[in-house]
Symmetry: C4
């Protein structure tokens, strides 16, 4: 269909898939099998043993939130969508909805090379499709009211996201125990930059 | 109630059911029970053994995405809804929400004739109700601003979707190992047609 | 807060809870544990043995869809909401979200008196809160543009829904094997009335 | 991005996460393993034994509903959002989506000190981030059309919510069996105040 249609429904489906994928992450947190008469000590130990699962939960939720934020920013400037863009978004959502699986694999096998490759590979694929989505929208002039500086910044950010997970993927091969380092560094870096920018 | 009402709430419920049914598909992907000290070789083998599950996941997600897209296009032209159309949509959503079950059946028993009949039967029933939905809306003049060429194209597409899954169903009886062939052929065919159309 | 606020967010939360509760019903459908080499006969038998689960799934989905439809119709006429109405709706949603549990209980123990009482009790409680919701909105003049005939019809319908499930509850005590009879009778009756009305 | 953007997408994501987290609570209610031929007596006993799980379900749903209501009220007055506010909201949603886990822990181990600390700690953290969210929005002048009396009331309420769960947390250490008392007291108190206010 040569038709270009409104963007509100694809936004609604995307918000739905993101909200569900992010909330389903919690199902990987299994309530520990302790007894009513377990000592506080024993129970705290059970919960502390779940630390990798909690961390993977929170980190994956926030990474997904970051992708959602970038996706939302692109749609802030996208005026309308065509069939190709809808299909790019559906492939994008297939990968977003896969996150509870990748996250489950990662939280059980935090330092296993293969689970790290799968996890970062999932994130990199999401980032790659976000880049395809944005560049397609730019090339087909589906964008409006986007000043060159905003357009540049958004192009930079989507590329940067792909770079982070490519770095993680590479690190997982070389130094698996520290493969996660690029994520908090850039997360916090991004927050600091936002903060300083909004104060100047 | 003889009343015709707005379409935004039935769109919201549909987007919700689609987003959830599509994202719940991932729950059929179980994290393999491997150990921290499993070799990379062993773990890759576990993941490769899951190939039918991954493929069923991605294919079912994209088929559901295709149904969502067609459903959205029909609502793009539907001006308002009456009670019958709401009920047709609720029956449609019963079948959409059944997809995680059909998909689970299919991914465990990829070439079993009965699971194939169930899976394609589910898809065919969804397609059939989409046709009922569209023809009812046309007959009751609930549509507006739809040019004859768009109306024809949409009628053709909804019918075509039913034809695909009827073909799969027939193939499942005769040549179960290749019953899936009509889906990617038409999927890719559709993408190519969109692409060429948007370039002429 | 004496404030009366917009209705769009409570509509969005309700659509979300309904969509999720309805779609979660499918998680009660467990893929049967059959083998790749099981005969078609054996597998069909497994699926046929699941008939009560399928029926409970579809019926509960459609009942929930009916409640959603009535809920939507009331909000079609509600102009704004106050705090009490928000809390009535939250209690309403607690009971809607309980449906996957009631449905699971029912599908496993279709003719057990206690599971029937629980299931119909859940539905009756939903219907009761829908009546509270509608009568509160009427009494506090939160409604607009509702002609007396529509107002009467909607009041009649919400009361009728409560009556159906009270009848089912009573039937469950006396003739448990036929306790479900009031539901399809009124469902189909309602559809026929709609149909005939929209043709006169 | 120095950009301030619309609030509708973050509202949609929040409504989605709340609706899903609230509805997922029901998955902690497991259908009891009773037989078709179990006596009514035996089955009632099974259901009554689930009382702590039902209560935790309903209470957690309504607490989450209360947080959703406060969150919605703040967004009623927030005109637009900036990047920091989006991130504060994403951290807020991480904690909201954790509720099914906290609730599962609580319902299995109702009077265990550690599970109580975890549960109330989760609620307190949600309340704390809601305060951060509201104060940040106030300080950055992202709010509009909010009369001083409404602004004060909303500030009071968000602070009050944090105080309730701090009180529960403290009570869990000293008198674990009655740690829940602050919740219904303030819940009902709030409802009574609303009611009396809307009648004067």
């Amino acid at each position: 269909m040569p038709l270009t249609i409104g963007k509100s429904r694809i936004e609604a489906l995307s918000d739905g898939v993101f909200a569900i994928a992010m909330t389903l992450l919690v199902l990987k947190l299994e309530v520990p099998e302790v007894m009513h008469h377990s000592s506080n000590q024993a129970m705290l130990q059970e919960l502390l043993a779940m630390a990798p699962v909690f961390i993977t939960y929170a980190v994956t939720f926030l990474i997904a939130g970051g992708f959602w934020f970038l996706h939302q920013l692109t749609f802030h400037f996208i005026r309308q969508v065509d069939s190709i863009l809808v299909w790019v978004n559906l492939f994008f959502l297939v990968l977003v909805a896969l996150l509870p699986f990748s996250s489950g694999l990662m939280s059980h096998l935090l330092v296993h090379p293969v689970s790290q490759l799968f996890y970062y590979g999932n994130q990199l694929a999401i980032a790659a499709l976000l880049n395809v989505h944005w560049h397609y929208a730019k090339r087909k002039s589906l964008i409006h009211n986007c000043e060159p500086s905003d357009m540049f910044l958004l192009t930079f950010r989507t590329a940067q996201t792909a770079a982070i997970f490519a770095a993680c993927l590479l690190a997982a091969v070389i130094i698996p125990a520290y493969s996660w380092v690029p994520i908090p560094v850039v997360f916090l870096g991004g927050l600091i930059i936002e903060w300083s920018r909004s104060h100047t």
